[in-house]
């Protein structure tokens, strides 16, 4: 089963003298492999790192780079099929080779772990309180009784910010929202005051506002326990704001490590550089060239010799293939800044800011497009418009006679329009009605309330033929490319399908398919391949090609990049930018990631509980958000720049999204509104009683004339005021 290979005593290594004598965790030359049909998958290949007490170590890397596997190895929670080698020491004690019983005494008491998916992390059949108490009872010894454990569970829940903890401790996991469950898992992790907490993508499954809350809780947890933290994430923004040191992993190895400032300011390995350049930044916007890293990570079975990043590296030269570069101190950098690249010296010499250097190296450029002139907006054709759109889902109860007891107000009076050649970003937390809105639009059926207008026609009066014609001009791309592509059809058929449905002749289709593939950056030799043979980013390109087959005028994009790794995401975003410029498309771009929206959209509409709370040009809204919710949303998004992050003050929203079946009276946001809390009683009363109408926003300049309004920036708040948060 588990092969434990004895290792030389790393602590005695003279080369590492001068560092703190007893690190909390010391991982040395960790190797993990799994059997597979094609051979052994070497998921982790010689990973070494240390964590000092109280330190936050961030581990970043694309999915599949071995982040989770290496941390599960520390916990001793890998499946029995895994073969593990190297050494993992906790305060000098070797963990590899310990039996399950011995490890169980360490797990939860000295090392605790928080997992990615809070929805499935708790046992559904026990109460949250019992599960937290269990963590105390297994380690507590005789002095811990069931009742002291239960009382402590209440304290812990309170500590992680669950309101009314004494009551909620009796709740079952399904009665908790995702954010609350993650708090409960954190409560469990800190129950025994551990020395080390490993958090594996603890916020990836959560909305940004909840992510900000959970990161804050994690910070509190660390302050309370003084534990060292290993924070695994693929979000460089999260790392920038929380970590002290960073490890960048690629193909099962550390390719760069250093302090967070060093890594972000002066990356010394092309991969890190590319990664940093690939993230759209909330504080930069349109002008930022996004660095796409072409290709995909190598297969971990039978890796060729040489630098694993070689095939994707712009600096690749023949010498790179000779041997895998070692993780060595980077020249001209702080002593503990190491990089695994033979050309790192040249990177150091190229004296430029990280972002620009990346753009230069990877040859990324801003897509040149006619700027969409907001002044002429009124004159452009409305290609897609919804007016006071309403969609309520009935809530039913009872056994046989299911009577309607209420309605989920998924969309409740949404108005916006998309004009020719522009991109409207629709943003908001999950459950706020984004998907319902676009489903209503795509359905081309008369809505429950309000109206929908597509390319000049109201959907109410459409005949079947009209509808078919409009379907050609209005296409959609979904979040999960694998789910929307039939795995049994080759790319040719997938792309040809919409044209066949519309009755195009064979010759036209045969000519068009390779054209479309080229358009989205796929090679036409791949025409006979099946979706399973493509990477996530390529599959999304196939979906885009398919959506473009009928030369639509409007493309609805439902979270098109949120399932992709950042380096891949950049490529797809660039493609979308380019297609828009070349084909003059209009996009309705639905996303929860505001950085992406800032990069790609001309206008943005922020939704909350079925309503639009703020809408306007991206520059105005992002630079001077007026609605408290927009401010909170923007402030919750981490910026991948440690310096900026340190300066930023985060607006933390309280609680979760209320149920859309029973929204608060007056302003729907009032239960979580940070501005509301600062208002006087009579002002608050207005928020409670009167639903704020959507009105033109006031200009940002303090010296603007009284009564002046921004023509194209609406906000729905009684007490809207500008607050800069980015």
């Amino acid at each position: 089963m588990t092969a434990y290979e004895a290792e030389s005593d790393v602590l005695a290594d003279p080369g590492r003298a001068g560092e703190p004598a007893a690190p909390l965790l010391e991982v040395a030359d960790l190797e993990v492999s799994f059997p597979s049909e094609d051979g052994r998958v070497r998921a982790v290949r010689g990973l070494s790192y240390r964590v000092s007490p109280g330190e936050v170590l961030g581990i970043v890397g694309e999915s599949g780079s071995g982040k989770s596997v290496s941390s599960l190895a520390v916990m001793g929670l890998l499946p029995p099929s895994a073969r593990i080698g190297g050494s993992i020491r906790l305060r000098g004690q070797e963990l590899l080779g310990l039996s399950d019983t011995e490890l169980s005494r360490i797990r939860g008491r000295r090392v605790a772990m928080v997992f990615q998916d809070p929805l499935s992390a708790l046992t559904p059949v026990y109460t949250v309180g019992d599960q937290i108490a269990e963590a105390l009872l297994v380690h507590g010894g005789r002095s811990t009784t069931a009742s002291t454990a239960r009382n402590r569970a209440v304290e812990l829940l309170d500590l992680v910010g669950i309101p009314n903890a004494a009551e909620r401790v009796k709740a079952f996991p399904h009665e908790f929202s995702g954010g609350m469950r993650q708090r409960a898992v954190i409560a469990m992790a800190i129950a025994n005051d551990p020395d080390l907490i490993i958090a594996d993508e603890p916020t990836t499954a959560l909305d940004v506002t909840v992510q900000a809350q959970v990161l804050e809780v994690l910070k509190t947890a660390q302050e309370v326990t003084g534990a060292g933290i290993v924070l695994i994430t693929h979000d460089l923004g999260v790392v920038a704001g929380t970590a002290d040191r960073v490890i960048v992993m690629y193909a099962g190895k550390a390719v760069e490590t250093g302090t967070v400032d060093e890594i972000f300011a002066t990356p010394r390995m092309p991969y890190t550089l590319g990664l940093l350049g690939s993230i759209p930044r909330l504080d930069v916007g349109r002008g930022q060239p996004l660095v796409p890293i072409e290709g995909q990570p190598p297969s971990l079975v039978a890796l060729p010799p040489g630098c694993p990043f070689g095939p994707r590296c712009p600096l690749h030269e023949p010498a790179c293939d000779a041997a895998e570069p070692e993780l060595l101190p980077a020249p001209g950098a702080a002593p503990d800044h190491r990089a695994a690249c033979i050309r790192t010296g040249e990177l150091a010499a190229a004296d430029a800011e990280g972002g620009e250097l990346a753009a230069e190296l990877f040859d990324a450029h801003v897509v040149e497009a006619e700027p969409v002139d907001s002044a002429t907006r009124i004159d452009r054709e409305v290609v897609l418009g919804v007016d006071r759109l309403v969609k309520h889902y009935p809530v039913r109860a009872g056994g046989i006679f299911r009577r309607q007891v209420g309605a989920v107000q998924a969309v409740d009076g949404v108005t916006f329009d998309v004009r020719a050649g522009e991109t409207l970003g629709l943003v908001g937390e999950s459950g706020c009605g984004k998907s319902t809105t676009i489903m209503e639009i795509m359905g081309l059926e008369p809505p429950t309330g309000g109206s929908i207008q597509v390319l000049g026609s109201q959907v109410e009066g459409l005949s079947r033929a009209d509808r078919k014609r409009i379907r050609r001009d209005l296409q959609i791309v979904f979040q999960d490319p694998m789910a929307s592509l039939d795995p049994r059809l080759p790319v040719r058929d997938l792309i040809a399908e919409p044209m066949e449905v519309q009755g195009f002749d064979k010759a036209h289709i045969t000519r068009r398919v390779p054209e479309l593939m080229k358009l989205v950056g796929l090679r036409s030799e791949q025409i006979n391949r099946y979706p399973g043979e493509f990477s996530g980013g390529q599959r999304q390109r196939i979906c885009i090609a398919r959506a473009l087959a009928l030369e639509p005028k409007v493309l609805v994009l439902d979270e098109p990049v949120s399932a992709l790794d950042v380096s891949i995401q950049a490529g797809v975003l660039n493609l979308l930018d380019e297609l828009k410029a070349r084909l003059g498309l209009a996009y309705l771009f639905v996303a929860h990631d505001l950085s992406v929206v800032r990069h790609i959209a001309d206008r943005v509409a922020v939704m909350y509980l079925g309503k639009i709370v703020e809408i306007g040009g991206v520059e105005e809204v992002f630079a001077a958000p007026q609605h408290p919710y927009t401010q909170a949303l923007l402030s919750a998004i981490p910026v991948p720049d440690p310096e900026v992050e340190r300066r930023r003050e985060r607006i933390l929203l309280t609680g979760d999204l209320p149920s859309p079946a029973n929204p608060p009276s007056g302003c729907r946001f009032r239960t979580r509104c940070q501005l509301f809390a600062t208002l006087g009683a009579d002002q608050q009363q207005r928020c409670i009683d009167v639903e704020p109408p959507r009105e033109s926003a006031l200009p940002a300049e303090p010296d603007a004339p009284v009564g002046a309004h921004l023509p194209d920036h609406d906000v729905a708040c009684h007490w809207a005021r500008i607050r800069t948060v980015v």
Partner: protein
Amino acid sequence: MARFLARRLVNYLALCLVATFLAFALAALTFDPVGKLQARNPPPPQATIDAKRAELRLDEPIPQRFVLWLGDAVQGDFGRTVVNQSISEELPRRIGVSLRLFLLGTVVGIGLGVIVGVASAIRQYRFSDYAATFFSFVILSTPVFLLGLLLKYVALELNTAAGAQLLVFTGETTPGFQGGFFEALVDRVQHLVLPTLTIALGQIAYYSRYQRSAMLDVLGSDFLRTAQAKGLTRRKALFKHGLRTALVPMATLFAFGFGLLITGGTFTERIFGWYGMGDWLVYGIEQDDTNITATVTLFVAVLVLVSGWLSDVFYALLDPRVRLR
């Protein structure tokens, strides 16, 4: 919750009545109890036949007969057989026999089925998993009477080898058996082993398959990992968190399985000469006896009702997501 269970109970009762009525009507339509009487040589006088017809209410419309029978049945009188024996007197004895047979078989079947299923899941793709899978499929695809006969054969060989009557394969007890309590117990056990095995083997095969897949679902689950990350050993996490969750979907299966066993056990009763409910049903059909058929059907329906309702209760007890509705 209580209201939910009460409502379910009412639904089940209605289903019971429907099932019994259908069985009654079908039996009354197809059975010809006086036919045998007429076929006698010499034929009995017409008056005797008419009396029998009247006694069995053969000339009344079927719904009316059903209502009359049901009216009596509710008061504990299930009518008389064609040969004029009281069904109500025979019923408790028959039920006793069946329950003695099936309770044990079911308890063993469920217990071992769960254990085998869990063990297979934990040792997935190892030899023991393949072996369990193989035997399950063999047993599931073997008809019960064949299985019973095979077991009989094995027992015979065993007895011959041991040179003594270790396992007995007819009846519940040795007729005319004399002896103290302990000897009587041994005698009963000797009779019980084979039919119990026949019943249990099928159930083990059936439940272990379901338990295996329920357990596999749970084995890869995040909450099991969380439990271990808290400091539970793998074994403890498996049982306290894994098995507990994997049992939820099994509750319904167990409950209904038991309800339907009684009829499914007909072969077992016949092969091993146990005069229980299953045997009685076959007997009733052979004798063209509507009352016996209806009574057994009602009994099975009530049993299914109770199991169905119990499964609701179990489910509610096991799964908080249901309980809170």
